[in-house]
Amino acid sequence: MDVVISQDELQLGWRKAATRLRRRVNVAWWYQEITIPLVLLALAGSCFALLARRNDWSLGAGFWSIFGVLVVITGAFAYWRSRRKWLTMNEAYVRLDAELGLRNALSTALAGRGAWPGLVEDQAVVSWRAEQVALPMVGALALLLFGFAIPVSPAVQATASQQPYTWSRLATEVAELVEEGLIDEDYAEEVKKRLEELQEQKAEEWFSAASLEATDSLQQAHSREMNRLKRDLMEIRQALKKAGGPNVSKDQRQKLQQQFEEAMEGMRNGQMKPNEKLMKKLAEAAKQGMEGMSEEERNEMQERLKELADKLGDNPGEGEGEGEGEGEGEGDGQARGPGEGEPKRGPGAGGDLFGAESPNLDLEKFEHLKGKEDKEPEPGDLLNLEEIEHDLNQSKKGPATSGAAKSEGLGGDRVWKDALDPDEQKSLKSFFE
């Protein structure tokens, strides 16, 4: 027995079918619109994750919160974009009409011009395409996953150990001198300030020519200052030592006093000054004059100055083109080998790096010519006469036209005529004969 379905029920049934279709199509539009932005977002997220891992930034809840918010914004944007293409209810009915082959019965019934057709069992007129749905989502997830899974080595940070060695060595050296109470802190501050200026450059420029030049310059200035200080100290010590010796005349004593004071003046004017305590002591000594010092005080002072001078150590000589190697950071004071380093820094042009060593002509040894007769030849004397055979071309020549222009030949012909040495020409001639 057939079940009679009322028109109201049919209408309701078709309305449900149209609503389902409409919802599915509209969701698909939204999904289509969100696909590309979502993949781009995932790509950006992935890049950010890689960057963060490389730079050791935190990727905690903050990252995921921002990512979530961006996904929501993207969804809203896709919703707004897709609305223009959304299916209306009437269009859904038409779509059902067309796809189910209902001969426009739904459109007619909707317009009130005919009866609602019987419900169709399979009302799914559109179906999801798995690859179109899954691919973008899988792609986006894969991109995100790559961002977290791809092995990334942390960014190479410019650390102190990778700074030019000279900087750290210089800083240590100055700090030690201050710590040992040798030099004034103002000089240490000045050096520190200049070193900081160098360090403030971009890390990739630390080893640039300009930076190394500046480093060299600082190092040389420091060496000069140390040498000068040492020299001044040694001069004072020398003056004290001589002043304490026997039979020192008044004039000599005055000279020594003058030497003492000049050295003091040099120390005052130099950039690197002895520390305040030492300077004060020396100034007192200079003020009361060497005569006012007891033997014991003088010896103690000499010992102290020697100790200080030793601590200043042996420094490279100034103005000799000697310095530490570029990027090597070795301040050993040894001169470069010939041909090494920049022309300005090195001691000059390189030696015989290429080719054999030139023969020793022994120009220092002179040998006198001897004539046939046992007498010293005079300039213009005939030394020897000898009969030699001239090197004539003996090859036979064919008849030649008189007045013909002489061809100098080209190519090989010209080579043996012009470019070969006499021995080679001779060999060549004999070969052709």
Binding site: D97, R103, N104, A111, R113, G114
Partner: protein, 338 residues
């Protein structure tokens, strides 16, 4: 506007079915052709039948006239046929001692006119048909004479033996609702013809539908509901026949006229009644589109050289133009169960 109800449509459908069965009794085989001819008549259109001699074109038209119990005339078109020969002429007659012109109606004054080998008549005579076909009247010597109702022209033409013929002008072609290709019979149909027909003896055809009944059926057809989406499909389809409007019509020189759109609407309504429906549908339009459009489109020279025909272009066009305008998003696929 009053629309046809299901009862009216059912009644009309049964009448049409009887008509179709009666015609099928005498014309064996071309059921589709008979359906299209009936479709054209119910849509109040004129029909151009094109086919080789002896395929039953004239027989079909004569059979239709007999089943419809309508007045029918046959005009054999020849090059020397004059307009007056078909429209009628004023003849000088003496009446009560006075001489006066009396209009003598020509063969056009019938319900069904069989214009046999219409392309053999001169353009002058062909053009005499224009007014009759469009406005259902003829004008002779300034006097207009209405043609009887209903009025149908069923013309035939031979696609070969083109020597001494005059191709129908576009204006006249456009007035035919359908152009139908009459194809050769199948072996089974031929066997049936051999068994049941005799050379030189006309088959007996039963009169099925009177004039009043026919008008009633035609009235029902006119009241069939044409949904807006179907009208939209017709409009898009006709628009797409113009060059550059669709990929399929790149080789078209001239597209179909608005009259073609009206013809599609009218014929799809008739087809709906033939199928017992109260509304026209996308499928009706698609089915009748080739018959309505094939003589209204002109292909360019290049396309003709390439062997393209209007039928092949229309076929592509029908594939290209969807029933509805909504797109399917990429993540979905259309099940297309129609």
């Amino acid at each position: 506007m009053e629309y046809a109800n299901e009862a009216q449509v059912a009644e009309a459908q049964s009448q049409i079915k009887r008509l179709s069965e009666a015609l099928n009794q005498v014309l064996y085989g071309p059921e589709t052709l008979i359906d299209f001819v009936l479709n054209g008549v119910l849509a109040r259109g004129h029909i151009l039948l094109e086919g080789l001699p002896g395929l039953g074109k004239t027989e079909l038209v004569k059979g239709l006239s007999k089943t419809l119990v309508l007045d029918n005339k046959r005009i054999q078109f020849t090059p020397d046929l004059l307009p007056g020969d078909i429209t009628g002429n004023p003849i000088l007659q003496e009446k009560d001692g006075k001489r006066e012109f009396v209009f003598q109606p020509g063969p056009l004054f019938a319900n069904i006119v069989l214009a046999d080998e219409i392309n053999r008549a001169s353009p002058k005579t062909q053009s005499a048909l224009l007014e009759a076909m469009q406005e259902h009247r003829v004008t002779v010597l300034g006097e207009t004479h209405p043609l009887p109702k209903p009025f149908f022209v069923l013309a035939t033409q031979n696609p070969i033996e083109l020597e001494g013929t005059y191709p129908l002008p576009e204006a006249q072609l456009d007035r035919f609702l359908f152009k139908l290709d009459v194809r050769k019979n199948t072996v089974a149909a031929l066997e049936k013809i051999v068994n049941q027909r005799e050379l030189g003896v006309e088959p007996e055809v039963n009169a099925v539908l009177g004039k009043a009944h026919l008008e009633s059926v035609i009235n029902t057809v006119r009241k069939v509901y044409l949904p807006g989406v179907v009208a939209n499909y017709i409009a898009r389809l006709v628009d797409a026949t113009h060059p550059g409007e669709a990929a399929a019509t790149k080789t078209v020189k001239f597209g179909a006229s608005p009259r073609a759109a009206l013809s599609l609407a009218s014929a799809s309504k008739a087809r709906a009644v033939m199928n017992g429906r109260t509304n026209a549908s996308f499928e009706d339009v698609k089915l009748i589109a080739p018959a309505v459009l094939r003589h209204r489109m002109v292909l360019d020279y290049g396309a003709r050289i390439d062997g393209a025909t209007t039928d092949s272009v229309i076929e592509e066009l029908l594939e290209e133009i969807p029933f509805q305008t909504t797109e399917t998003p990429r993540p979905l696929s259309s099940a297309n169960k129609s």
